[in-house]
Symmetry: C2
Subunit: 422 residues, 2 copies
């Protein structure tokens, strides 16, 4: 293939390290001038491709691109937008190909989670179906850690480090005052269907639930909420330690499969918008046991917390972005680089490759043996899996006391085509 431009887009919720993958894609593309011309980024993800709203990353300095590595958010904008099947929405795919032709795009990098890998897989099939040569490679990213065929997902390790640190710190605070004041602290964390982030909170308690160290109780979306057992455990902690700290997933469900709290509304993919499980749990304890509580809702703070990113995570995000470009220039279509774990301790890993068709729309569940028998904490096996993912600190530069994050110029590529309604 002659020199072709590349398209890169960020998709779904941002993470603390998705821009590290962006940095790697652009830096690695620049290192292959014999194969790749310019990297055009979609403004607001795939929507930017459909609307021909492309950002010319060649106009950004090497120094600014390097700073992406330590900047959270999605530097080119992201979106939640899932392409339907080619049969259902042929016009969108024709438009994609039209945009690729107009801008001489031969490489397509899509940086996202489950839904995005489905989109990437569909795009990877276009070359054959629509007669425009296009190599499509997925770059994994999701705080939910639920992509299959990779040991972990870039973005998760940093959230894990943030939530574990936060509940350790808040736990020390609550312990200080428990004798005469607040006895209950609840931290609500993300995780609609899988309890990976909730599990990560468990790392703070060191040698397990019996350590007495926060968090004392974890409430997973995988374990139907048993009010009586839960309240008994809370009271047991208060009796033993004077206080009780709880991490609860936003996706906690009752035995009949309903979310304990729903904000109402649905997102673009039809997922329920959740929130309030933490408050609900805290109020339940107050109502039934009478203990004074505080609760925190980490929300976006957890996935944007680049200031306490995991070095392992940041390194993997960069490595997979780099590998994606290397796979593409080697002519590999419809693949996604992965993390393959070689050993737990000391942790060793290498980059692997998965087929997008095997990744698309498959959600990796947390193994059942990662949750303790009583359903309220993690097992040693889970601990062994999680521990390496939060290893290492990778601080951003600071200026005037605050993390110094880059804002790119994000200059648009001149449009060549007419409008397209998405």
């Amino acid at each position: 293939m002659a020199v072709k431009n590349a398209f890169y887009a960020q998709s779904g919720g941002p993470t603390a390290v998705i821009n590290a993958s962006a940095c790697a894609v652009i830096e690695t593309a620049r290192a292959h001038p014999d194969k790749i011309g310019k990297v055009f980024a979609g403004r607001n993800g795939i929507v930017g491709a459909l609307t021909e709203d492309l950002i010319d990353t060649s106009l950004e300095s090497p120094a600014d691109i390097a700073r992406l590595r330590t900047t959270p958010g999605a530097a080119f904008g992201s979106c939640r937008y899932k392409l339907k099947s080619i049969e259902e929405h042929r016009a969108q795919y024709e438009r994609l190909i039209e945009v690729c032709r107009a801008h001489d795009i031969g490489y397509f990098f899509y940086n996202g989670g489950n839904d995005s890998m489905d989109t990437a897989w569909k795009v990877s099939q276009l070359s054959e179906k629509m007669g425009h040569p296009l190599i499509c490679v997925g770059v994994p990213k999701t705080v939910d850690n639920d992509l299959p065929l990779t040991d972990c997902c870039p973005g998760f390790g940093s959230v894990a480090k943030y939530v574990a640190t936060s509940i350790r710190e808040a736990g020390l605070d609550v312990a200080s005052m428990a004798r005469t004041s607040t006895k209950i602290f609840v931290l609500e964390v993300m995780g609609r269907h899988a309890g990976w982030i909730t599990a990560a909170c468990g790392l703070a308690s060191g040698s397990g639930a019996d350590s007495g160290q926060p968090p004392h109780i974890l409430l997973f979306p995988e374990v139907p909420f048993d009010e009586a057992a839960f309240l008994a455990r809370v009271q047991q902690c208060v009796d033993r330690y004077d206080y009780c700290t709880i991490a609860v997933s936003e996706g906690l469900k009752t035995a009949d499969g309903k979310f304990v709290s729903e904000q109402g509304g649905k997102d673009a993919f039809g997922h329920s918008q959740l929130g309030g499980a933490g408050q609900w749990i805290a109020q339940l304890i107050k109502d039934k046991l009478g203990h004074k509580y505080h609760w925190a809702l980490a929300d976006y703070l957890q996935r944007a917390a680049r200031h306490i990113a995991s070095k392992t995570d940041a390194d993997q995000a960069y490595a997979l972005g780099k590998a994606a470009v290397e796979l593409a220039v080697a002519g590999r279509n419809a693949v996604m680089p992965t993390v393959q774990r070689l050993a737990d301790a000391p942790y060793r890993w290498e980059v692997g490759v998965a087929e997008l068709k095997d990744v698309a729309n498959v959600e990796r569940k947390m193994p059942a043996d990662f949750i303790s028998a009583d359903g309220f904490h993690i097992t040693d096996k889970c601990r062994a899996y999680l521990a390496p993912l939060i290893e290492g600190e990778d601080y951003p530069p600071y200026r005037h006391g605050l993390p110094d994050y880059v804002s790119l110029k994000n200059i648009a590529v001149p449009r060549q085509l007419g409008e397209f309604k998405v």
Copy 2:
């Protein structure tokens, strides 16, 4: 005075750096063996003194005491307990003196905020009234930054750094998705009556409200909430920037002086327990303007976040703990060391001294000219005041990917007296 033991207690809500003051008190006391014997810490603050539940800090290793400098929470336990006047509750004061006599305590260090400095002042008057020689020195601490006669309060700078960093990071996240998803992000921060912490969020927006950088709007407890003006400003931000980020104080009040949201209940001092202002504001925007929102409640996370402590703050917390002991061994009773600012930029400060009688129960308000004319942001004058307080990083040590905080042995001093009911 012959060699006497010292009593040290932590009071009120913990901060990220109150243990740095504890570290300084103990290390400095150990450096004056000619004046100070052992340092006994009150378990759970002043309650520990009343119940004769004293911790013998001489049994802690120098290494563990040194690690207090980077450990959040209150290592000896804290409480909210305000002594009434000597006339009203003479029995408590007599008990305090009895405990001091029994354990040969001649120095009394009380580490806390407004209410605690009132207690310290009362204790400082005991020596004369009750005939037991006792030197009492206050050590300032409060995330609320509302103690008078000191330029700032240890604990505040670290919260300030945390909230400004958090809203900068979450702002990048929201900006990434705003075109097609969440447009509103609300962060609720502490500050019952004074907007210092809310103001600190404003540091993230760099050169001011017109920078377009998060946070776009600050809602102070000092400014009665004007719904129409607020909603107009939110819509203006959405029109201009596609999104709007808001920091709101837990103590936000309507024009008639009522908190916009109350959890109900009151703490030991009769203060209303607040919570929910963030959710209330977010829902208001959704109801009136229809924008999708996310909100976060930092709660204890903000005051426990030692992982992102301000170096300035940690240094001052240590310096004032050290100064307290030096004042005491020099025979100064009824005083509190303070931070005196010498210059804004480059920042220079020195330790000063205030009389406890002038500090007790005086709440320092945020100056009116720190809030912009429209009431929705901070002024350059405020920025000049706040900026140095978040300067510098002072990372704790890490172990297995998490901050490695110390747990002291906290061994009790053998009791010599009978029980006392508090």
